[in-house]
Structure formats: C-alpha cells, structure tokens
Symmetry: C2
Subunit: 503 residues, 2 copies
C-alpha cells in the first residue's frame, strides 16, 4: 500500500506513488467490475493517454469503466485503501490536460454514465449522468423549446461531467454564464466512497455552499455521478452584427464601450486580421479582409428586444469608430458570420502543422495592449500567433502556430504561452478563462496566488480527499514547484482601484 507524506498532503512537494503494485490493483479491481470494464494492456490503454492537450501524454496503469454509482464507490474505496491515484475522465476533449492519466493510477472513465435521468420541464431542470454529452441535453429538450446554454466548441463530444470538472464556457457565456452558472446540483463520490451533494435546487444552500468549489475542481474533490442542470428557453430570434475596425485597440475599446453601455450581448467575439485571413480562405464567411480586427456581436430575445438592442449596438460601434457594420439579414447569414469564428481552430490546424491554444483572461480595456504585446512575442519566439477572443469576457484564445517536428518549436510555443498567461495576470487578469488549469497552466498558478492561498487550496482538497489521491499533480501547484519555477505571488492582491485594470 502506497502512503503519502505529510509534506505532499500540505502541498509542499509532489506525492510519490511509485510503490503502487499494478498486479494487486488489477486483481482487486477485477473482483469489483465485470468483464470489459477493466483494461490494463498497453494497446487498450493507448486511447486514454491524453486528452485534448495532446502535447502531454501518459499511459495510465489501468482504465476502469464503471456503469453504476455502486461501482464508482467500490473503485474509489479500493483505491483509497490501496493508496492508488484516480483520474476521472469524460470525453477527453479538455484542453489543459486535466484528464491526463497518472502513471501509477486508475483512469476512471465515466463514459458509460450516459443517461438523461429526467427532465422537469416546468422547473426547467434536467437531471443527467456525467457522461451525457453537452449537446445531447439540448437535443433532448429541444421539443420543449429549451436548451442547455453553455456551448464549448467541443459540445458535440464533450460531456457534462467534463464541463463540471473544467467549468467550461462557450461563445454565449457572456450572457448565459459558464458551467458554474448553469448547474444547480452535483452528486458525487469522495475517494473514501462517501456520497456528497453540492448545491441545491433551492436558491440558498444551507451549510457551506461548495458547489462552485466542486465545479472547475478538475476531479480533485470528488467524482460526479449525477448533475442537475438549468435549462434555458430558446430565444425567439437571434441576429448578429459584424463590425470591422482599422485598429485592434479601437476594436478592443468598442468591446468595453458596449458593456459600459449596459448591453449584454448573447456573444461578443473578436478576431484579428491573421485570424480572419486564416478562416476566410477556409470557410468563406465573407469577412472584410482589410480590417485589422472584426467584432461579432449577437443579440437574442423577442423580435422587439433584438431590434432595439441591435440599434443600440450599432450606435456604440459607430461611435467607437467601426469602419463597416453589417447586420445579419437572415438566419443563413447569421450562421455564416459565426461559421468563420467557429472554424478558427481548424483553420489554424490547416495553416500550421500544430497550434497551441491559450486561455487567459484580461480586463476588457487591456485587449489592445495584449495584442501589441503578442506581436512582440511573435518576434521574440519566432512563431506566428492568430488571435480569437471571447472579447466580452476578456477571455483570450491566442492560437500559437508551430511545428512539433521542428526541434525546439514546441518548447518555444510553450514559453510563448506562458508569457501570455503571466502578462494576463500582470494586466489584472487570470490564467484561465474556460479551459481549466490542468497540467498546462499549473506553473502560472504560482503567479496568480500567494503561499497562504495555495496552502488553503491544499487544505480544502484534504477536506474532501485526505489522502491526496484524486487527480494528484493537477491544477494547484506545490510550493516546491513554485519555488523551482521562481515565481510566487508575494502578498494578497488588492481589490482593484479605479486606476487599476477592470473587467
């Protein structure tokens, strides 16, 4: 049985699980699970070696595919007794390596938890298992005029359990919120096999409200087995404004001006010229290629609300110096406007062998500054970067283009990405937007938090997982790692004052 030192539990150093005995674990798990629900041969493990952040790869020791909550309880209790790490996995579409397997651990695939348990139409709540795909919820309730609002670009494939783990967003989260704003309750199992519930269908939650802590915790507190999600009425109409700018800073300022005018668009996206060029030759969205930046600004609601809001948007955009404004005339044109934005990632893949998508968040007012800095970084690292932003949220998705087959390019891309994240923090922002921290941004977490804050995170984890077995080494850096990385925020940040950046 592996044991974890106090220093590891306190978050000082990484835990060492090398003493885990694979044969004993396989033997014990095989008594809990039916045939076909346990895999431990290398060729069977291969499909699980990475998630959507394929730069990081690691074969798990074994893969378990439970079907029932009782099996999850059994697996977790067993791993707790034997001191075995457990990494839960949804569809494996995550972009920060949150589901990267542990060499000495169980990869717990929740893929078979794929049932929608019930839909309460009057209360607009669906109770689903965590392996249900994000889009499957919307499809199942479409005939009631409802949908599940968060729409990560992987929504065809990604699961609601994975969305809970990473607090996923999407292009509509400015108006409709991230996962944390659209999940009411999560039922989960702790590593000790206890069933705990987070959140409530009631407005207030008695006791400590730990739902938000569970959401985005990357499977480090408990393994979700049921999720109650909020359903949203489908808007009667959506219309999209495409605005072109001859200057990226001006485009960034227009974003801030729209929000300052009290408008909450259903989507507010920005693409720079290299990004529009990349997508245009791919999907022919009709973007103005001479613009330094374009904004897509969507309104939804009743036809009257949309008409009124579009006019307000147009006024702010004109005032903000837009060189061209087009309003989608019908649904086909609206979808064409969005097709370009949605094709940005594949377009990057088309013009470059590899790309690295970053996910920092900055105050809206600093978008222009960040874009200038990224241009400098392109020179510094000798790599190109195309930029698409969830601009209304200040959430950046720079796509750093590189070729992993060229020696040193991956490392340069990673250093480029780290620079962007650290600049995000320095500009008053954060290292994440909607993709989680995982393994990708764990070093940059050192810039974001102070030593007491990191120590508190480890103690919160210990409150749920006293042996430190759930997804060890993810999301929260050890103090030792931060010392080696050479950065740790020194004092608690001040709440921003007027002269400081704002969102």
């Amino acid at each position: 049985m592996a044991s974890i030192t106090d220093a590891a539990l306190a978050g000082e150093v990484e835990a060492d699980f090398s003493a885990v005995d694979k044969a004993r674990v396989v033997e014990a798990l095989s008594r809990l699970l039916p045939a076909g629900a346990l895999m431990f041969e290398t060729e069977d493990l291969r499909p699980y070696e990475c998630d959507g952040l394929s730069a990081y790869r690691q074969l798990p020791m074994v893969v378990a595919l439970p079907t029932t909550e009782e099996q999850v309880v059994g697996i977790l209790k067993l791993c707790h007794e034997m001191g075995v790490p457990v990494v839960a996995r949804g569809a494996g579409t995550g972009l920060s390596g949150g589901a990267l397997p542990h060499q000495f651990g169980v990869l717990l695939s929740m893929a078979r938890f794929n049932r929608i348990l019930s839909v309460d139409v009057p209360a607009r709540v669906a109770h689903v298992q965590p392996g249900v795909r994000n889009l499957a919820i919307s499809e199942a309730v479409a005939h009631h005029g409802l949908y599940y609002a968060p729409d990560p670009s992987s929504q065809i494939a990604c699961t609601i359990g994975g969305n809970v783990a990473e607090n996923s967003g999407g292009v509509h989260c400015l108006k409709y919120g991230l996962t944390v704003h659209n999940v009411l309750r999560v039922r989960g199992v702790t590593i000790e096999g206890d069933i705990v519930e987070f959140g409530s269908l009631a407005p207030d939650v008695p006791g400590y409200d730990l739902l938000a802590a569970m959401i985005g915790s990357e499977g480090m507190l408990a393994v979700a087995t049921e999720v109650a999600v909020k359903l949203t009425p489908k808007p009667q109409l959506a219309q999209c404004v495409l605005a072109a700018f001859d200057d990226v800073v001006r485009a960034g300022d227009a974003v801030a001006a729209i929000i300052a005018a009290g408008i909450i668009p259903a989507g507010l996206e920005m693409m720079d010229q290299p990004a529009t060029a990349a997508v245009e030759e791919f999907v022919h969205a009709g973007y103005p290629l001479d613009a330094k930046a374009i904004l897509l600004c969507e309104s939804d609601g009743t036809p009257e609300e949309v008409a009124e809001e579009i006019e307000r948007m147009r006024a702010v955009l004109e005032q903000g110096g837009a060189t061209e404004i087009r309003v989608s005339r019908d649904e086909a044109e609206r979808l064409r406007f969005w097709a370009g934005r949605k094709a940005a990632f594949p377009a990057a893949g088309r013009i470059s062998p590899d790309y690295y998508c970053m996910d920092g968040t900055i105050p809206r007012k600093r978008v222009g500054e960040m874009l200038s800095a990224i241009q400098e970084m392109e020179k510094k690292y000798g790599l190109r970067c195309i930029n698409v932003f969830h601009a209304g949220d200040g959430n950046l998705h720079p796509l750093i283009l590189f070729d992993a087959n060229q020696p040193g390019e991956l490392e340069r891309a990673e250093a480029f990405g780290a620079d962007i994240l650290e600049l995000s923090v320095a500009l008053g922002g954060t290292v994440t937007g909607e993709h989680g921290v995982g393994v990708e941004k764990i070093n940059q977490m050192c810039s974001q938090f102070t030593k007491p804050e990191i120590a508190t995170f480890f103690r919160v984890k210990a409150a749920f997982d006293p042996a430190g077995l759930l997804n060890p080494g993810k999301a929260i850096p050890t103090l030792n790692r931060c010392a080696e990385y050479g950065r740790l925020r020194v004092s608690g940040g001040q709440l921003p004052h007027p002269e400081l950046p704002r969102f």
Copy 2:
C-alpha cells in the same frame, strides 16, 4: 492559552473555551488598538449581546472595533495565538443569531469599515468595506442609474459584510439573485492573519472557486475586509399585479404556473388571509380582505417589456383561478401594493407581543401543503401563525405569534418553528432561505445533512481555521449535537426524480 481538542476540530463535540483568561486578552488587545476601540465593561458590552434574533442573548468577553485591515490582522493573529474565539458582527440585524457573541470570545465589530472605496461605473462594480450599509451602496450610485440589487427588509441598517455572512436575499432575489449572485470578490483575513481573496472580477476563477463557500459562511472561514459588488441598471419601469385567490392551494399552484410559463417576475410574493388582515388595518394597502391568499407579482424593464410580461402574467393568473386581478396604474399604487407586504413584520409586532419569523424553503408546488400543515401546527401548539412567502423562490416566512411573558410560549414557538423547518426538509426543501442558520436552525441542519457531509463541512472549516476559533458553535452542528437531537440524515439524498418535489 486555550487549546481545542481533536474531537472538537473534527466536529464531534463542542469546543471548550472556559480556560480563556479575560485579563490577559484585554491586556494584549489594548496594545493593538487605540482608546475607544476596545470595550470590556458589562455596560459597554450590553448593546452587543444579541443580533436580530433577540431570543438568544450572550454578553461577549470583549468587543473590538478595528478601523484598519492591519488591526483586524493583529486581532485575529493574537486570538489565534491565545486560543480565543472571534465572532464578527456587522449591524447586528441578522435573524438567525449568527452574530450571537461568545461568552469567552472577542466580538469583532466591523462597524468602522464604512467606506465605499471606489465605484467603477462602466464595469458596474463597487468596491466597498464590509461595514457599508446595503442601501448606502444604492444611494451612492443612484445618479449613475445603478443600484445594488439584493434588498433585505433590513437594508436601511444591515451591512454588506453581514449580507455576505448570511447570503441575504430580499423580495427581488427571484429575478436578481441572492448576495452570492451579486458579489464578485471578497477579500478577507483568516484567523492566522493571512489575507485571502475569494472570487474574481473575471468570469472564471482559477483554483478552487471558494467565493460561494465564503458567502453564507457566517464568519466561520475568514473575516471580510473588502467586498466587490455587482451593480445593476435601474429598470425604466416597474409594475405590479395583485391577484386574489379563494384558496391557498390554488394561489400556490398559480406561483408554480407563472414560473413554468417561463416568466421570471421581479418579485413574486404571497400572503395568506391572516397576514393581509394584520397588515391592512395597519397600512391600508387596499388588499381584498375576503381573499384566502393574495399574490404580488412584479414586472420590470422597458415599458414594452413590462407591458408584454404583465399580459402574460395576467393570462396565467386568470387561468389559475384568480378571483380578482389588479395591475398598478402608477408608481403610487405600486408602492401601496408593496407597502402591505413590507409592513408584514411590524404588523405582526402590532398584533402580538412577540413573533418568531421562520425561513425554510420548499418546492413551489408544495406551498398549499405547507400552509395546511401550519394550520394543524397552530392547533397543536396553541399559537397563531401568519404567513408571508417569497413564493417564487419557495422561501417561507411564517410569523409565529407568541407572548414571551407567558410561561412556555417561547418554547412552544420554537418547537413550532422546528416543526416547520423539518417539514420543509421532508417536502424536499431546505432549512434556510435567506436568513442563515446561525444558532436558530442548527439542530435542523442535522435533518438536512448526512454524517459524511457534516464531517466534510468541519474539514473545510479547518482548511481556513485550523484551530476552530472563528464563530464556533454556529451554522454547522456537531455530530454529538445531532445524536442528542436524535436526527441525522442517513444517506445522501437522491437528486429529485419527476415524481419527487421540485422547485
């Protein structure tokens, strides 16, 4: 120096602080605080002996009135070193005894933290100290067309720090949310004197998102020193529908029907006949006294939105069997409709020497059932009860009328209240709505949570407050208390299925 046993830290038994040495604590604190910021004579302590739940009274050992965050850090570090409990207090308007002093503890009044630090109009955020009054925020930003949405009935007096501690609500929280939905970031100090920040101005929060855990934690995790609140644009227009029903169950069903129709009223309140009778003779709101129940259903927004929503409300209410429907014709009439509802508590005080306000939450569909059960309880306990509900939220405020000077009446009122809370849980609801747990509902928390859940709460507390000194004995019951109370939920509740109650 007092020390706390492991059993107390694990939440098994109450901690014993009787070894705290008042003279030494006073001497040490007097070196940290200027004259006038420390009180320890009985006559000076008297104003702090209770909060708004005056049935519970306890003199603190000392009262500290810091002015700066440095003083708060100093006081907390000192109390940590000396093993002294600390109870933070805002305006003392809380209704569940969350700020009830500790006999051997420091009562930490945050009253002098009363500055609005900055207002960021374009971002619609105000940065305030915790002792700022709720209404003072709205007053300070009114000329920008903004306000702070949560409006507890004590909003003239209560502070934002107290609102954070209790996750306070108000009549508009159905549409605009509780405190947890309107606070973006809290800066606080742990008992060890570390400054920690909860939440973020960005949409996603890196690391564990502990803001929601801090809000409603009744000063048991950290002491807030700065709060960033969201500001909301004032609606152009508000109009209110008053609907009368000849049956309380029908009125309850109409509430559920409004929500099911996809309408989110700005307020949706219900009063039963005894409540309307009590307020009518007091404020002459013009309520129909022959109705068994009335609903107040408010719409706000642009004039077009309000007109359209009022018509939809009217249709649902007519369909639901309303015997009379009145729509406020002007602002004076709208305020008159609300005057009755807002006078419910003082009206109860007018017709009875004492009243006890309960605060459970139940699924909307069960309102009729709860009212019938309360009628039975009135007979059982020989006490009258008038009922006002935040019906849209399912949040009940039964006002149990009693006379504390009559032997046994207070005890009967408390038992009556406990019955209501336990029935709330049995109906699929919770023991709190917007007043917190404090000392008032601590026994009923045993009915709400399982043993592993309560143990987890204590471990989360220990993550912030390893010595168990912040507001000990509040909100989360010890396992020993639950054993004595004779109720502890046996297994994790199921997420509701269609046949079960819903919100």
